[in-house]
């Protein structure tokens, strides 16, 4: 590939006569072992605009952003800043050019205060830190963009949304002109998303450029001036102009085909109580993680647990699955006590459990699909793989798992296919027929196509009369699938509402701990 120098100024959306783009990527190629993460990608952002990178998981968004901020170096292609070619050998070099990234996973020191975190990495510090002066300076930067933060607070005590604000303030404090926000809304509740968008506007007003990364169509349409869609490492389209954007078109560019996410609840009749939880409490190391939780799930019913991560969801699931013993209270599955009796007993009563961490917990990464199917089943002393093989073949076909066969190693499956293997195993029953399915963030990290399939599978399971407890941080998912929604906040159920009449604002407020009332 040859690029001549006159192409430097020609960004994909260059309007004749306009100033050169603040930052552009030109024919960027980045390869990882076995994947072409970025395939000749062109991208640019103008001063004062929000340019969104939209794409499914694995499309290459984070990789592109990492190269734009100096974390990775492209295999080929180059980057220009205000029309001039720059070499970004490290994130520090990126900062020197006024480019900063807020990563999907925050990089803050929990034991430090907000101000300490913000100044961390700045080079112009005098040897002795004047705490109050420092905090004033940090506050001043934050307030000028409408970002309320408390500079003296310890980061470990902050909510996820507040931590994100600290990351943004840190970038601004370091003099960033261009901010790369990698999936900033993934960790936020609706009210926090709105707040973030206000901050983004304040920043663009001040002439900053924002590269916004997301895979959620709704918010992309709301915030973006321009959208660039990535699929499998390639740019599949550019859409410009706010308001004119059609989400269907974006979805097609993103997925490569028309997509219809089921939002309707399958009609069904609910039956007897399959899961009964009474006064369940759990303390871990003296800290109350779950307190006084009571609810039931009926046959043919899907109960959704909404909440921001870290409010006790994982512990609730693991307690029901028999992996953790509660401090007090009881759990009964199909009428029999399962409290304190371990995962095998719970499974014998009809439990199936799809943990959030697919490859870390639900599947054994180095084992084949076949061996993974055996994980939660009865095995004889001499493991009889031959007799399970036909079933493995059948499940691979039925669940449309893309694999070379039952011997395919779990680690080499894509996220969506790994999740299908897990669901196939859990839905097909092991030690007894599945009556209760506990699923945690079943579509997290999956591409839209796989999300469609997984949700359809859950709906089918409910129609088949299984009781389903859906624990997810994805509020849209809980809202669109559940018959009943419970909101978990700091280990308690603070809100309950029928799925059909649930209000996004009310549920969102409960998730943020703003409402402690009962029924909406």
């Amino acid at each position: 590939m040859t690029n001549t120098s006159h192409e430097v100024a020609k960004g994909p959306h260059h309007e004749s006569g306009a100033a050169p783009s603040a930052l552009s990527a030109h024919s960027i190629v980045k390869r990882f072992p076995g994947v072409l993460a970025n395939d000749s990608v062109d991208f640019d952002v103008l001063p004062g605009e929000v340019h969104t990178l939209l794409g499914e998981n694995g499309a290459g968004k984070s990789t592109l952003a990492a190269m734009l901020c100096g974390l990775y170096q492209p295999d080929s292609g180059y980057i220009t800043r205000n029309g001039e070619r720059i070499a970004l050998s490290s994130p520090r070099a990126g900062l020197q050019h006024g480019i900063a990234m807020v990563h999907q996973h925050f990089r803050l020191v929990e034991r430090f205060t907000v101000a300490e975190n913000v100044i961390l990495g700045s080079r112009d510090l005098s040897f002795r830190l004047n705490r109050s002066e420092l905090e004033d300076r940090v506050s001043a930067v934050a307030e000028s963009f409408g970002l309320p933060i408390e500079p003296g607070a310890t980061v470990g005590d902050l909510s996820v949304g507040q931590r994100q604000r600290v990351e943004i303030v840190k970038a601004l404090y370091q003099g960033a002109e261009i901010l790369l926000l990698d999936e900033p809304t993934a960790v936020l509740v609706p009210a926090e998303v709105e707040k973030l968008f206000e901050n983004v506007h304040a920043m663009t007003q001040a002439g900053k450029s924002i590269v916004f990364i997301s895979h959620k169509l709704g918010e992309v349409v709301e915030i973006s001036d321009r959208v660039t869609v990535l699929r499998n490492g390639r740019v599949t389209g550019h859409v410009s102009g706010r308001g004119t954007t059609d989400t269907r078109e974006l979805a097609r560019l993103m997925v490569g085909r028309d997509i219809e996410l089921t939002t309707q609840r399958a009609s069904h009749a609910t039956g007897h109580e399959v899961l009964q939880i009474r006064d369940l409490s759990l303390n871990v190391g003296g800290v109350s993680v779950l307190s006084d939780i009571s609810f039931n799930v009926h046959a043919g019913e899907m109960v959704g647990i909404a909440g921001v991560a870290g409010n006790g969801q994982k512990e609730l699931a693991e307690t029901i699955a028999g992996l953790t013993s509660p401090t007090s209270g009881s759990i009964a599955i199909t009428g029999s006590m399962s409290t304190d009796r371990g995962p095998i007993h719970a499974r014998e009563l009809g439990l199936a459990y799809v943990p959030e961490d697919r490859l870390g917990m639900g599947l054994v990464p180095s084992m084949s699909i076949l061996d993974n199917l055996l994980l939660t089943r009865d095995r004889n002393f001499v493991v009889d793989r031959a007799s399970v093989e036909p079933e493995a073949v059948r499940l691979i076909e039925q669940f449309e798992i893309k694999a070379n066969g039952p011997e395919h190693i779990a680690r080499k499956l894509s996220g969506g296919n790994a999740q299908k293997v897990l669901l196939a195993r859990e839905l097909s029953g092991g030690r007894s027929a599945t009556k209760l399915l506990v699923v945690c963030s079943p579509t997290r990290g999956l591409d839209v196509g796989a999300i469609e399939t997984v949700r359809a599978l859950l709906n089918d399971a409910r129609s088949a009369g299984q009781a389903i407890l859906l624990i997810s941080e994805d509020l849209d998912e809980v809202m669109s699938l559940s018959d009943r929604i419970l909101v978990l906040y700091r280990g308690s159920i603070v809100h309950e509402t029928p799925g059909e009449s649930a209000q996004l604002a009310t549920v969102g407020a409960a998730m943020a701990g703003l409402s402690t009332e009962g029924n909406a």
Partner: protein
């Protein structure tokens, strides 16, 4: 514009099959080359030395039977290390468990005396040796499975205790293990009923076939049974094991006990075979430590342990004979053993990473 070249280690998704064979092979060759340099530097001819070693180790009927005889104990300590390795447990105290196997085996042979027939005595001696080896790892195994205490330290430290124990039993006047009223301390020979006879005029004992059988059985156990399935789950993902209700503590304990028993069996093999008595000379031979190298070379693959055990025995016995046939120092064999370990571990880098050189800044121009 010239830009500097950087060596990049890129993690492989998957190790190609050929590398799994190639890397150990190249490790051995590289070790031989390193040994040759050492020989040259110290004024010996590498070609002569290696030719001698080869013919003494493998290429003569005397050599090959000696090698197989020696490999018997080395395969024991090799699978002992490999069995623990496969669950990411590092039993590096096979040496001490081997001593205990000798002590236990000798005790059984001496205590039961001549009263029992051979077909009872031999299995009893072997079993007691294995049991004593397992006993020696019991504490490290227990604290590891309950408290997570590093087994590396505990098993190694106990080796020194085991060596003192051997000395104690041999050098204490009137000890059960030594000949009474003997002018100088020497272990007592076990009765004939507890001794096997070697094949013909060789030093190859039938225990070799037993040990090969044990190795293949363990291979089957790991590949085909519920026990092996658990081991694989725990080794790869302790959280998945927890999820599936597999008791990792119990499995950890049992794997370590079996590992200890295998080294102990190696000690007992020496009692029914070439040694016939508790011999303090064992502490100079390092058979247990050799097991670690053998396991590393075999990449913890049980069937490969047989091959690398024999290879190693050949190097050792060939090396030992050098001292007698030529004046090359005996330590060349030991040195090669160390060099092989180093290169085998270094070779891991090639299995796990693709290594290539790049210019730090490549552009599309």
């Amino acid at each position: 514009m010239r830009s500097p070249i950087r060596i990049v280690f890129e993690q492989r998704n998957e190790t190609p099959k050929y590398l799994s064979t190639l890397v150990p092979l190249i490790s051995v060759i590289a070790a031989l080359v390193a040994g040759a340099l050492f020989l040259l530097a110290t004024g010996y001819s590498p070609i002569d030395t290696y030719t001698n070693m080869l013919s003494d180790g493998f290429a003569s009927s005397r050599g090959i039977t000696d090698t197989l005889g020696l490999s018997t104990v080395l395969i024991c300590t090799g699978i002992s290390a490999a069995f623990a390795f496969q669950m990411n447990l590092y039993n590096i105290g096979g040496e001490g468990q081997l001593y205990l196997g000798m002590i236990g085996g000798a005790w059984a042979g001496l205590a039961l005396g001549d009263r029992l027939p051979s077909f009872v005595m031999i299995p009893t001696v072997l079993l007691l040796g294995a049991l004593a080896g397992a006993l020696w790892i019991l504490i490290p195994a227990y604290v590891r499975s309950r408290l997570g205490t590093s087994e590396i330290v505990t098993t190694l430290l106990l080796t020194y205790v085991a060596a003192s124990l051997v000395d104690h039993f041999v050098y204490t006047p009137g000890s059960f293990f030594v000949t009474k009223n003997s002018a100088f301390p020497q272990g007592r020979l076990v009765p004939d009923s507890a001794s096997l006879t070697a094949f013909g005029n060789t030093s190859l004992y039938p225990t070799f076939f037993l040990v090969v059988l044990v190795t293949l059985t363990l291979f089957w156990l790991v590949k085909r049974t519920e026990y092996g399935y658990r081991i694989q789950v725990i080794a790869d993902s302790p959280r998945a094991a927890h999820y599936a209700g597999i008791n990792a503590n119990r499995t950890t304990l049992s794997v370590m006990l079996i590992s200890g028993a295998l080294s102990g069996l190696g000690g007992a093999v020496l009692i029914v075979g070439p040694f016939g008595r508790l011999d303090p000379g064992i502490t100079m031979l390092g058979y247990g430590y050799a097991g670690i190298v053998i396991a590393a070379l075999a990449r913890n693959n049980f069937s490969a342990v047989i091959v690398s055990g024999i290879l190693f025995a050949g190097l050792r016995s060939g090396g030992d004979k050098l001292q007698i046939s030529t004046d090359t120092p005996i330590h060349i064999g030991v040195m090669l053993q160390g060099a092989i370990l180093l290169f085998a571990l270094g070779g891991e880098a090639f299995r796990r990473y693709r290594i290539h050189a790049v210019r730090t800044e490549r552009t599309a121009q």
